[in-house]
Amino acid sequence: MQTLIDELGRLPGIGPKSAQRIAYYLLKSPAEDANRLAGSITEAKARVTWCQRCFSIAEGELCAYCQDDRRDSTSLCVVEEPRDIVAIERTHEFNGRYHVLQGAISPIEGIGPEQLRVKELLRRVESEEVKEVILATNPNIEGEATAMYLGRLLTPLGIKVTRLASGLPVGGDLEYADEVTLGRAFEGRREVEA
């Protein structure tokens, strides 16, 4: 029992009290329910990997967005996490491709560009037909540090580099922004100065 509580407590957003509550709930529920949950975790872990191109979640080599030929390959939207893609898709403002950094620069945590998918981003910009890179990192200090770093790196390559408009509530997470606000931030994106 304690092992289960400890394991649950290690999940993001779950404190010791919630871990205990979930553990009791699972023990009280029928065996097949608990087995189905355990099975789906194992299966997801086995089948889902990172897209080889954009580093979002994929069930094969490429994710659904990278496989979709109708999407515009000349515009590339850079986000921190796969869940940010979901938020952007809800706005219907963007029909290009994505690149997931899998995090943000966080000096205080010692997370620098080399721990993110930055090299891969550069390689894509150089080898694909990218004309515009949209920096859609979170409007907080880590996201801003990341956008500044990428701006400095990308503008000399002669492509258009833009950042979401400042209309987004600063301090908040992109994934919680409503689609209207986020859509407006997309439309009003501004070019990053070199």
Partner: protein, 242 residues
Amino acid sequence: MALYRDHGVVLRTSKLGETDRIITFLTRENGKVRAVAKGVRRPGSKFGARLEPTSNVALQLYRGRNLDIVTQAETLDTNRSLREDYALLTHAISMLEAVDQVAQERESDPVMYRMLEGALRTLSSEKSLIISVAFLWKLLSHEGFHPVLTSCARCELEFGDAVEPTTFDFGEGGALCSSCAAGGGRRISADAIVVISALVDARVRAVIDQPPSTEVLLEVEHLGVGALEHHSERRLRSAALY
């Protein structure tokens, strides 16, 4: 008195649950304080951008057993321009990280608060990295580390034409002459000694007006980071990102 008011600089934040954050402040009256800001990651949160690192805020907090709770936050200074330049931002974050390492929880240190708040404001207006380098050395002084710079920290011979400073030894707490330097330590130039002396002597303005070469400033910065890491026995992680 469960509710209390104070001023504080946001040192760092970490995610808690779905939409909360734990905010670490250096406060004026209560030392380092860790407090939960509920719902701060939701757009439209009453806290907005006020609880981001480098911000200086007037706070109302609810005293908890382990973590406090932020009930109100009004901006005193956002130090916004620090967020518009990558080098300024990483250096500002190093200052915050250094303070986070040496400040004690719930132990009042108004001098440290004033030093940090003032240094962030000046870094933001002057946009000179000398400010952040000076801050590291002044923080070390405040912590009781006064580097020995005019004579050898081991044999105590005065530096002059015959005796030259060669290395800086964190364990000995200062510069060593060439015969004592055999044991190691980091190389230090005569120019760096001049700059460090000026910084710990509160002559920062003079250093800004007559700035050292980039090379010397980097040397002074590396030595400051090294001395701080030696003092706190922890790595200054953000320094790796300069």
